[in-house]
């Protein structure tokens, strides 16, 4: 399972390395979103710094949708999906590999967005490790749920419009938790309030990763 996962993740990342879709389209979109939020909330830097955690995570969620779309569309042409199923790769490995590839791209994107939030909105981060941990855990959760829905909808022509509708409400706990952890990390002092949210993210990740590992085979048959 782990070897298969590494193979699939390597394949997806190699495709990204050669096509640069995430780098040249998704990442700039994230920056555009940050600029648009700034336009929406006005030039007052205090307001923007206050809203920075939420805006960061909303931008991440939107980019997640795009990254998942890309991850699915990579498999949709040239019979790639059937090829993967014929190759004898373990479904659980395939799931983890796809999720890891999405997560890796999202992490790079989040570094960029976090820098944007700090520079553009003037957000001050007091407890950096909480930011890092929340980003890693949140990203794993988004990649885990996104890959599940991506696979479930992969055979549908309407998946571009349906995926955000189905995925974003499911990801609501990630948005809430991520925002609260960022707020705690920006406020500094006692990070205790952030810790329970970190636990929630851990549970979220564990639950959906387990569901994906167990059910990815049947889900593939459905699509």
């Amino acid at each position: 399972m782990w070897r298969d996962a590494a193979l699939v993740a390597g394949k997806d990342l190699r495709i990204e390395g050669r096509s640069r879709v995430a780098l040249s389209q998704v990442a700039p979109f994230g920056v555009v979103a940050l600029v648009l939020f700034a336009f929406a909330l006005g030039p007052d830097r205090q307001v923007m710094a206050k809203g920075a955690p939420g805006l960061f995570w909303v931008a991440v969620l939107f980019c997640t949708v795009l990254a998942i779309q890309r991850s699915v569309s990579v498999e949709s042409s040239d019979g790639a999906r059937d090829g993967l199923r014929l190759s004898g790769i373990d479904p659980a490995g395939l799931y983890l590999g796809k999720a890891v590839a999405v997560a890796a791209q999202l992490i790079v994107l989040e570094v960029l967005l976090a820098a944007g939030v700090v520079l553009l909105y003037g957000a001050r981060i007091e407890v950096p490790w909480m930011i890092v941990v929340s980003c890693v855990l949140g990203t794993v959760g988004l990649a885990a749920t996104g890959t599940l829905y991506g696979a479930l909808l992969s055979g549908l022509r309407v998946r571009e419009t349906l995926l955000p509708f189905l995925l974003l409400p499911i990801a609501a706990p990630v948005l809430l938790a991520g925002t609260r952890i960022w707020q705690a990390a920006m406020a500094g002092g006692t990070p205790a309030s952030g810790l329970q949210w970190l636990r929630l993210l851990v549970v979220f990740d564990a639950v959906y990763l387990a569901v994906g590992v167990v059910l990815f085979g049947p889900i593939q048959e459905t699509a």
Partner: protein
């Protein structure tokens, strides 16, 4: 395509039921299940009427809330049906569908019916809650934990219904929807905890609180319980009807084209003579309850 067929001036009156071996007969409801359905429906209606009468005229106004308290006979009952009964039933039947030993389209149709009725009750919950919230809290909507959870549930299950609308073979659609219902059901406790930590303003549960101790008494309590029962029965009745319609929809999707073809062929064999007035709306090839033709049912599947 069907609408084109019916729009054409047809020759001869359309023969109503076409005897043809290729067309399955539509599923017929047994007289016993029809009776059960009627009894439940009428009981629910009487129960709701009694609740309205007791709630509006017999029970006293509240010390603090005055007449506003009368919403307690409807709002928690509707919420109970929407949030616990309907969505719980949908989650359980989706799980039973996914479980290989109990896999049957029965569970899929039951889940679909439960979600659809549940969404209606969920909207009623939000609307009645808003009407209550405005005079007591001063706002139509507050980002309170329970309100937020209810709204997230509504969105999750609207997504389920949107997915179901995508045309597909019944088994494929059933599996796909069951997975989505399952993912949503898993999400509910997580959303519950997160919105609880996020914000809490709503009062505690009146009936379904830990220990099941009723916080109201006398005629008010009885009216409240009657309302719960009546609304539960109304839910069961809607569920039965929706399930039956679901069976008919599946039959229509599978047989509509054969039916229309058989009808066309019998027209050619029938007596000639032009009667344009007998066109749309009369033949069984017209629009079904779903409003979707058989061709529309297959578009969109790659």
């Amino acid at each position: 395509m069907t609408s084109d067929l019916t729009a054409l001036p047809v020759s001869g009156p359309p023969a109503a039921p076409v005897p043809d071996a290729r067309v399955d007969p539509p599923p017929v409801q047994s007289s016993r299940s029809k009776l059960v359905e009627r009894v439940i429906g009428v009981t629910a209606l009487v129960g709701i009427a009694a609740t309205v009468w007791l709630g509006l005229w017999v029970t006293p106004p509240d010390k603090v809330q005055g007449d506003l308290v009368r919403l307690v006979y409807i709002h928690p009952g509707v919420a109970w049906v929407a949030l616990y009964l309907a969505f719980g039933l949908a989650a359980v039947s989706s799980l039973l569908y996914l479980w290989p030993r109990t896999r049957s389209l029965f569970w899929d149709r039951l889940a679909a019916a439960a979600v659809e009725v549940g969404v209606v009750f969920n909207i009623c919950t939000l609307v009645s809650g808003s009407i209550w919230g405005k005079p007591t809290w001063g706002v139509w909507w507050a980002w309170d934990a329970r309100l937020t959870l209810t709204a997230v549930l509504l969105v999750l299950f609207l997504g389920y219904l949107a997915l179901r609308r995508i045309p597909a073979e019944p088994e494929v659609r059933a599996r796909r929807s069951a997975f989505v219902a399952l993912f949503a059901a898993i999400d509910i406790p997580l959303v519950h905890f997160s919105v609880n930590w996020w914000n809490t303003l709503h009062q505690g549960a009146t009936v379904l609180n830990p220990g099941l101790k009723l916080k109201i008494h006398g005629s008010m309590a009885w009216t409240l319980l009657l309302g719960f029962l009546a609304l539960t029965l109304a839910f069961v009745w809607m569920l039965l009807v929706r399930y039956r319609v679901g069976v008919l929809e599946d039959w229509l999707a599978a047989n509509e084209l054969d039916f229309a073809l058989a009808e066309r062929q019998s027209e050619g064999a029938g007596p000639s003579g032009t009667d344009p007035g007998a066109g749309p709306g009369k033949g069984p090839s017209g629009e079904g309850p779903s409003g979707e033709g058989p061709t529309g049912d297959r578009v969109g599947v790659a």
